[in-house]
Assembly symmetry: D3
Homo-oligomer: 243 residues x 6
């Protein structure tokens, strides 16, 4: 893919086809399959009635995340991390990002001394798996928290607002939203943005893959991301109103 790369199947500012399927599996308190085009991630939220040691007795809850990829989620089979005996730096970086993003919209005091673990497992990868994970985990977390409310364990729902995430980048000189794997491999600048429904910024991670980028380019990408996340939050809201 050269500098003359042109996205032809959708507008530069358009998301891929986004689908959010709730209750995808039956055991977890929240279970969501999220699809951004061909990227498919299963996000589950599991409630545990205890917190990690550093929080015990403080009346506060915790939200944490783990991330994984099935070995053949990718075009070439990747070695299974359980077989290698350790998680890669990339995996750890992503699961820390997911955890931070969801903690930022959760009222830990309202949650009380319990922990929610978000498992994001990529069934099929085509770029943007970390953003899809945050987007899907938000809905799974919302569902799991709702079971606590309807079960009478919580007086009010501890999620302050929804959170979505999207990648933006400059590909062939053009700023584009929601890159697929081919675009991601070709891009000069790659940025992941996490924002709330009300437009607050939670994370901005921009990286120059090749040449450094200018402040003007950064500004353009942030605009693009803000609009895209608006669309993502609408899709989350729409999924959540469905019975």
């Amino acid at each position: 893919m050269s500098n003359t790369f042109q996205r032809t199947d959708r507008a530069a500012s358009q998301l891929r086809n986004l689908r959010i399927t709730r209750n995808y599996t039956c055991h977890a308190e929240g279970s969501v399959l999220v699809e951004f085009g061909a990227t498919k991630v299963l996000c589950t939220a599991s409630v545990e009635e205890s917190v990690p040691g550093f929080l015990r007795g403080k009346g506060s809850g915790w939200v944490t995340a783990e991330y994984g990829m099935l070995p053949r989620a990718t075009n070439t089979r990747m070695a299974r991390e359980a077989a290698k005996g350790k998680q890669s730096g990339r995996t750890q970086e992503i699961q820390r990002l997911i955890g931070r993003s969801l903690r930022a919209v959760t009222d830990m005091a309202a949650l009380g001394e319990r922990q929610i673990t978000l498992d994001c497992d990529v069934l099929q990868a085509d770029g943007g798996t970390r953003c899809a994970s945050i987007t899907g985990a938000c809905v799974a977390l919302h569902d799991a928290l709702s079971t606590l409310v309807t079960g009478g364990k919580l007086a009010s729902h501890p999620m302050r607002e929804l959170v979505g995430a999207v990648s933006v980048g400059i590909v062939g000189g053009q700023p584009v939203l929601d890159l697929d794997y081919a675009e991601d491999s070709a891009c000069d600048t790659d940025m992941n943005v996490v924002m709330t429904a009300s437009g607050g910024i939670i994370e901005v991670q921009g990286t120059a893959e090749g040449a450094p980028f200018s402040r003007a380019e950064l500004d353009t990408l942030l605009e693009l991301a803000a609009a895209g996340i608006g669309d993502i939050v609408k899709a989350q809201q729409s999924a959540l109103v469905t019975r």
Copy 2:
């Protein structure tokens, strides 16, 4: 569940609802979602154009398997093996069984110096995951081998015949086929049987969970398994003729 357990939703000799969905994900040469009732396993087959060191230069291929469970495939969340840094003894036992079962029906000389890796990942567990894995991996392997034949890399298809697997057990004094999780937890004797389409036995693994079992009970369970595997092979054949 007491000794007076009675299966009421299906006959003692009846399989759960069995569904085999081919091409479930897009990257692998073979990709099958197999469902035995609420048990759902994603089985992919990946072709690699080389063999492990001990086979190099011998003109023979290899088939191997890996097995995993998503952390919330089960009723209570299980720790992620990649995070713990090692695979459990149970995981290793199962993946060795899957590999042996599929190697038993594959002509390694006909396959040539290439390796097929079968990844069996449990998305949702309700008993019988190892048997479901073998059943689904057989179809995924068949598909992957077919791509080699249609791609002109192999003159003939190296799978000699289909192979299926099922669990049988004595629950509440009654021999039953294809146990779900509740039945498995209640059973006195548990046996997994792997057989070929033509009725040859590949593996028999019977374990007394409580009291030892008699030779007569063993014979009854083997009959039950043989009939059940006949039905499983029919379902595999039916899935494979679909375009």
Copy 3:
């Protein structure tokens, strides 16, 4: 070794020379060297006055097993598992089998809240090490439990009956009992059977190494194993009456 393999040094239904030496080492509550021909396994039983976490406070005991091979127990030196930093799948599979087999004949409530660990270490290997381990561990466990009875810690002996194990297989078309390493390498079908003194079946693990086996062959092998285990239990009883 070809299809025309013929066992010449003993009858097809005859065990190798079986020796059971109690009190082989001095520290363990039970310590047995068991020899099936050239296979030599040191089995010790260690009593610990506590149980694993999942059993605490339930008034029930536990029996568990670990298995190892000295690096030069085999013809070619095998890498030491402690140096590699992990136990192989084979090791874990065997130690799980040993533990299950001995738990099946032990009354856990009678044992009370204590754990017995059975260590089976192969000093010299010539086939059948897992069956020899079960056979020897049974005697070591019996001795360790006896020390609890004679020490006044237990009112009655918690072992319900003795348990023995043997391998059977089809070598060169002929069903044979108690395979040595050369026979094991040549066999088409390999089965390990664990049975109690009274003839109850605890485990049956049959594997087709090459061609699948028929139900008739399975029946023949089970007969052969049952007779062999009868002889093994006699040898255990004879060892246990010796002072």
Copy 4:
């Protein structure tokens, strides 16, 4: 530290006392002690005449980084990662960031098939260790590359321009540059920025620790960082002209 936190020892837009000491140790091709106030990091650059497998034969070089903290670099002793047997997610995230930042200013083709490893070891920590590491590693890398030029192995120096990094954040409502540990613990928003001498952006990593931040706040922080990195690059240039 409350919302009314006020920095009193220096201006909000002022760096801490910055010292760059070259040739701090004698074996490495580049060896720099960098100090941002009480934060002290030893950065060494090691030349190796080969590249990782994925680059072999492609005529391109590689720059990679490792990061560590001495156990008592911090106020409370942290467990040694070598003793724990693995590097934390935080460590891996930081060393990936350092590596990316330095690769962005290095001409890999000009470097040829050799690898430079940047080791950044924190001797004393008081906030901002990852930014100090990038700043110091840049000078160490420059020195190591210079030895290749003066040694006749390279025709031209492969570093395109200098790169510096600094943290910025909002503490007690006020945007501040180059946070120390106390400020970092109190801040609402924390951002690390990596920029080149000519003002190109290489990395932006902004995280809302508490409440989300607005686009206006992000803009302010970026201005502050750009000015601070200007000062850092001057200090690097000044250190490099010294003999």
Copy 5:
């Protein structure tokens, strides 16, 4: 055991009952059971026709050692290192000592490009296991090298002279030779000495367990050790002349 400890079963300068049994197991090129009183170590020597990477192509051989303890070799069961996933510092220290000691008496050029691995596995421990290991491994190594000479692979035997090892210590104020476990636990000063048949010193490792020791005490212990090793070498020679 108090300061008034007195050895009563043998003289202070007397070894425990020393037995060396060659060909204890059948597969290894050298296999020796060495017993110092109740301490029993199985030492095997395995020949491999290649050397570690750092010696390849240099025409020189290598001798290395590994050490292990069966879990119930000791009075209280010790966790299995293979199950824990790593060897303790003590294990590594001992196997490094055994390797160095045997390399010191082997002509590596005469050995040629092959490696001998010495496995020392403690079947029963009662103090002095590292010294027993060196003593037994020397005989096993001698046997393994002899198979190379008699097999025509070596023109001359590469072992320059025999090597023995013994512990000495000050117990209850009295210098004693060859401490058993009870003495070792009670001693103030503990020293392991490795010497050749001709009286050359290979290793001296003395440690003050409680109060520091004087130069005079050190001298006394060295005399005691030298005499004891004289007796050990005689026992090795005597074992080696037996057919």
Copy 6:
């Protein structure tokens, strides 16, 4: 370096330039940079108000040590142990030696139920790092204990006397004190000696690298070490009286 090696820059019985810098870093209760010529080790002592499990409730304290090398402390970059996931046998051997040496001069009852961890990290290596570590850790431990005395937590200082360590060896036939890396690589016999200020011996570890050494050589080396440690203790005392 051949047999004709001659030390020319200092006398055979002379130490390298020895510098001890206290309070080198700011967080630890004791922090010492010790330099033996070009060997530089940062030794910190950290106080923790609890003891390991095996000492809990016994009224006794503990002193332990950890040792590490920065990857480029050496002439050729060594792989980082944290990245490899385990500490080498050499590292473990050294940290056990440091711990034993310092425990030998500390009154554990006087220390009470607290643990001091000594971290010895080599910033630059030129031979003798383990002896430098013991020498520097002694001063760091003294400082940390002094903070407990001046803080009113201890009635008296628990260090009974100072302890120093030095290497001696036979290089080119000549006994020399305090070997640098080049000498260490060339030496036939290498010995590390740990002694107290009053001349008591704590550890003697002598190893024949090539030919065995005689008792007379051992005696000469011990004399040399005793004198050298006298000089080292003077330097420690001199450093400790400085404010």
